[in-house]
Amino acid sequence: MGFAMTLANAMLVFRKDWMEIRRNSQVLAPILIVPLVFTVVLPLIVILVPSVIGMPETAYQGVGTIFENLPPDIKAIVEGMSAQQSMTYIFALYFFAPFFLIIPIMASSVLASDSFAGEKDRKTIEALLATPLTDGELLLGKILVSFVPSMAVTISAFALYCVVVDVSSFSLFNGAILLPNLLWAALIFLVTPLVALAGIGITVMVSLRVKGYREAQQLSAILVLPVLGLIFGQIGGVIMFGTTMIMLLVAGFAVTDLILFRVGLRVFRREEILMKSV
């Protein structure tokens, strides 16, 4: 009964926030446009442009360093492929993977900023805190409204990415289907939920200490930096998307989430929230 009540009240907050969010283009625009760039625009540039305009073999020399740094097992897979096939294969299946960490981070931090700090901005927080809803119900409702749409966007983006990659590389690989595969499924269904939760956790704590949505979002943008590190790490050959990276990401983000939510629960007090907004 206790948990059912908590969940019902959290869902009340979730539905109210969701109604507000879907009427706010300032929030919807980035969480729809950024995934479209990562799942449609960039893959099409990398896969379709060379095949349409016919890139010479020398054009692929620019990415030679990346190929040299590939782990032996991936090198073995692409060994028999043409230059265009190997570039498409490597980029589509490995190098775009970290972008799918940026999507949940960006979406969750934008949504959480609006849900937490946005209430301060719009001066609606005091009426909400005056209700009998408990701190836990408010926190859970606001986490859900940041988490559920973030994951919906991430999973939809992944589905779209699979279609874009498979359709655009269909003739290049003689009808072979590249995605989805087990590694990507692990990335999307194991890693990205933990990443989204980390984004929410950091944004909640930032939101408690700032006065408005923009400030919260700007500070939360710092979350993208470690992901950029992954992208450059791959280019430099230091790390490569694979089973080991998935396991490290799961372990790293699980620990991070645990710490963030323990601290978050301790600092999420209605008085603190109200006082930091005035």
Partner: protein, 316 residues
């Protein structure tokens, strides 16, 4: 038994005492005013009593629930009009009220929609129920915010500056509503304001606070007469003279008399209604040709300003 009972309530922010040892009781159906300048501690007091923030010291019971021991029960029993309307501007009027009805624990869909309709009709917002509150005028937003405070029909209502920024017509509408809620529905209302007109017209008792401390408590009439001085009688005569003043000043109930610069005779009276005819008669019998007679009650504003400036008035 008081519906609100406050004892030694205090709140400090860092080293600053926002509220210091307030104690008072509010009876059922009473409209109790908290009057004071900006920063006096009115909003902080209401926030503590509505369990939005916790006190640093003292205690209080609201609608029978201790604010420290059972804050959720207190929140369920009170409706709060916050300093700003605090409305979700992307939600419609109906969506705003429905959300808060459910947040205050109303679970029956038919009861929720019935109550929402009742309030929107009462506040003449029913025809605009489907519009986002962002497009509402300030007066409409304030009415919707008051409707939100009433949506769960709480026994205790805290109204923080309910007429702030409203035009005179809208202000009157809100004042009439407050009086009606108190008289007809026996809601206990605590009204925070620095608008003396509001306090004077609707409050049965007023507590003046300044710098977090209680300055005085009483009905507006008591405070006005005790702090701002006595009622005045101004008589314009065709033949002003010191002899006339002396003749009238000897009447029982007249505490002082003088000739003003404009030639009018001014008397301070202990009891306006009893002494006025006696003074006029004494003047006429002494040969005065009376042209006009005016009486003046000291305003609550005079009393308030004296209190706030600490003009020789002891806090009690």
């Amino acid at each position: 038994m008081p519906v609100i009972s406050v004892s030694g309530l205090s709140k400090s922010f860092g080293g600053l005492d926002a509220v210091s040892g307030l104690s008072f009781d509010v009876e059922e159906g009473e409209i109790y005013g908290l009057l004071g300048p900006n920063g006096a501690g009115k909003t902080t007091t209401v926030r503590m009593l509505a369990c939005i923030i916790s006190p640093s010291g003292g205690t209080a019971a609201v609608a029978g629930h201790d604010i420290r021991a059972d804050p959720v029960a207190v929140r369920r029993s009170v409706g709060v009009l916050t300093e700003s309307p605090s409305l979700y501007e992307r939600l419609t009027a109906e969506e705003n009220l429905t959300f808060f009805a459910r947040a205050y624990g109303m679970t029956d869909d038919r009861k929720v929609s019935g109550r929402v309709k009742e309030l929107l009709q009462f506040f003449q917002l029913w025809d605009r129920r489907g519009e986002k509150s962002a497009v509402f005028s300030k007066g409409m937003k304030q009415k919707l915010a008051i409707a939100r405070a009433l949506v769960h029909d709480p026994p205790v209502i805290f109204l923080d500056e309910p007429t702030a920024g409203l035009d005179p017509e809208a202000s009157k509408l809100i004042r009439d509503l407050i009086t009606e809620m108190s008289q007809k529905e026996r809601h206990t209302i605590m009204l925070c304001t620095h608008r003396l007109e509001d306090a004077e017209k609707v409050c049965s008792r007023v507590m003046v606070v300044n710098m977090g401390r209680r300055v005085v408590v009483g009905s507006p009439d008591e405070i006005r007469s005790e702090v701002a001085g006595k009622a005045k009688l101004e008589v314009m005569v065709a033949n002003p003279s010191t002899a006339l003043v002396e003749a009238a000043a000897s009447v029982a109930g007249v505490s002082a008399g003088a000739i003003a610069e404009n030639g009018r005779l001014i008397f301070e009276l202990d009891d306006l209604n009893a002494a006025t005819p006696l003074v006029v008669r004494a003047l006429v019998e002494s040969g005065a040709r009376v042209l006009t007679v005016n009486t003046f009650l000291p305003s609550l504003e005079e009393a308030y300003l004296r209190l706030i400036k600490g003009d020789g008035w002891d806090s009690r």
